[in-house]
């Protein structure tokens, strides 16, 4: 321990606390005006960086923080992807995530070359900015009571979960080529991509199923240890395949997909923790990446970055999406929406630190160029996404599920589920006596919450509009009950 401790760590935690606090407090206003919250975090990092006594330029640290953040985000994304809807959109999403990534990278590279970059630099920039980030789309929609058509939402979500590994592989390989051009061979390149994806997929499935068995069989003494266990699985899912030349990012997403689609003890608690970790990952990674950027260098890359950003948003992405989705019978409007909402997020900025770390000449210039491209491609689709939903007509008729006021969670696997409804005047049961409801055998109302009071329910209790009604049902009865009660709350 040096003489400066614990003052130094105290200072660091204070700064981190202030930055995270501001990020959290301002995320709602920023979403209200349609600016993705992540851009706020990035801008905050940039501002904070300008105030530091000496510029922060630790690209290695930033890369590590960014990787951890991305692992947490991808794991949370996988946990929350419902396999039933995802399955049908796997083929188009997989095409977008592989061929689409390569196509986007290629087109951006052509534009970069025209702007005066060398071919290999241009390809590197293309690869770096080629993967999308769906989290921003969904967080922009969350506040607006608009729901996306399942097909469109699922495609965007799966695409963004699956395309990061591809972008990572392309970037790492191209960086290698930049450093030692004579080692490049096209077949070797292709083989490398395929092996990484194969190992990543296998490791993800393996760890996912291993985790599934583990969670089903073991009992740990405290509820708080379950999320600790799933976190360990997330770390393993990235670490192990990475050690064996596989794609850790693909493995993390796949493992979470497997885990999230089965019964788990304390499921709600586990999901909540990972949701929080993903937010923290998001905030930290954007703050750190903002810290790295130097305003002077940003200004230098400004014009080129702006043009490349617009080429990506208005030309490369639409063309590639259109080609990729041709075989899958999407309507022109659905294709249009997927093309428009190619939001870029943390991954490109994270990847842009790779060339700098590896000591590629001009790496810092590329980093700042990418910074611009990402900001433009987060801002344009992010700020317009609500409008785009209406314009392309991809809204799913219907209200978003309201949050419940009460959560009742099973800690063991039981044959019943507790679901809740917000009684709307339109629902057939509104105004009826509880005793008059033709509920399926074994289903029953447990209680209701009215104006902040929790009431027991007996036969003569009337269900009033605005009540939150909690029922126990068997899973097979859900549809019959939903038909009567109408607006189901989130669970």
């Amino acid at each position: 321990m040096t003489g400066q401790e614990p003052l130094a760590i105290g200072g660091m935690l204070t700064v981190a606390g202030v930055l995270i606090l501001i990020s959290v407090l301002f995320s709602r206003p920023s979403e209200k005006i349609g600016v993705p919250a992540v851009l706020l975090f990035l801008g905050l990092g940039l501002l904070a960086g300008a105030w530091l006594p000496e510029p922060f330029s630790d690209y290695d640290l930033a890369f590590r923080v960014g990787t951890v953040g991305l692992v947490l985000i991808l794991f949370d994304g996988g946990l929350n992807t419902p396999w039933r809807t995802a399955r049908e959109h796997l083929a188009p999403a997989a095409v977008l995530a592989t061929l689409g990534v390569v196509g986007t990278a290629g087109l951006v590279a052509v534009a970069g070359r025209l702007l005066g970059l060398s071919w290999i630099e241009a390809l590197l920039v293309g690869a770096i900015v080629s993967s999308t980030d769906a989290a921003a789309v969904f967080s922009a929609l969350r506040g607006s009571n608009v729901q996306l058509r399942r097909r469109v939402g699922a495609t965007l979500e799966l695409e963004s979960g699956l395309n990061d590994p591809m972008a990572v592989i392309l970037t790492l390989t191209l960086t290698g080529v930049l450093l030692a051009p004579e080692t490049f061979s096209a077949t070797g390149f292709l083989m490398k991509i395929l092996t990484q994806l194969a190992i990543g997929l296998a490791a993800g499935l393996l760890i996912g199923f291993f985790g599934q068995q583990l969670l089903r069989r073991i009992r740990v003494p405290a509820a708080g240890l379950y999320p600790a266990l799933t976190l360990a699985l997330a770390l393993l899912a990235f670490g192990v395949p990475t050690l064996f030349m596989g794609s850790g990012f693909l493995a993390v997403y796949v493992a979470a997909l497997v885990l999230g689609n089965q019964r788990m003890p304390y499921r709600a608690g586990i999901l909540r923790v990972h949701d929080a970790l993903a937010w923290l990952g998001q905030i930290t990674m954007f703050l750190v990446l903002g810290l790295l950027a130097v305003p002077g260098l940003l200004a230098e890359s400004g014009l080129r970055g702006l043009i490349l950003g617009l080429v990506l948003a208005l030309l490369a992405r639409p063309l590639v999406v259109w080609l990729c989705l041709l075989p899958f019978r999407y309507t022109p409007r659905e294709t249009g929406f997927v093309a428009w909402t190619g939001l870029r997020g943390a991954v490109p900025i994270l990847l842009a630190s790779v060339p700098v770390m590896s000591g590629v000449a001009g790496g810092e210039g590329l980093f700042h160029l990418v910074f611009f491209v990402v900001v433009i491609n987060a801002l344009i689709p992010g700020a317009t996404v609500r409008w785009a939903v209406g314009w392309f007509g991809v809204e799913r008729g219907g209200q978003a599920r309201p949050p419940p006021v009460l959560e009742i969670t099973a800690t063991e696997s039981l044959p019943v589920r507790v679901i809740s409804f917000l009684i709307d005047p339109v629902a057939l049961v509104a105004g009826s006596r509880a005793g008059d409801l033709p509920l399926p055998e074994g289903a029953d109302i447990l209680l209701l919450v009215r104006d902040g009071r929790v009431l027991p329910v007996n036969e003569s209790t009337r269900l009033e509009p605005g009540d939150h009604v909690h029922l126990m049902i068997r899973p097979a009865q859900a549809r019959a009950v939903e038909l009567l009660f109408g607006l189901r709350e989130e669970d």
């Binding site: 008729g397 057939l428 009826s432 006596r433 939903e482 009567l484």
Partner: protein, 150 residues
Amino acid sequence: MRLADLLTPDRIALDRTVSSKKSLLEAAAGLLGAAPDAAAGRDIFHGLCQRERLGSTGLGHGVAIPHCRIEQPGASGALIRLTRPIDFDSPDAEPVDLFFALVVPSTCSEGHLKLLAGIAQLFSDPDQRERLRGLDGADDVIRVLNDFEP
């Protein structure tokens, strides 16, 4: 009230063609609005749309029960079968070809709730679904409903 009493042959449309959820609801409102003492078709359409907004009335397996309350003295129903199933945001994401639309008075009673539950039960039975899909005439539909005891 029994399920068969909800329908008359002129409110049974077999082998219709519609292009979207909206035009299906319009067709259903048209049939229901033509019943004696019925509310205006426009109001019924509006009511059905409002109910769909709370969540799709699709049950899965290609069937759906659009319904609402409306200012009219009694309950009535309409049955529509499509030649080409349409997307109805069903939970299983399967397109829907068989619809039983239902309107009940705004003073919805226990009996009216039971009608909805009864239709749901009818549609949950794979054999009944297949029978309804294979029938040729409106009279046969009413016979199926007469035979069905929830």
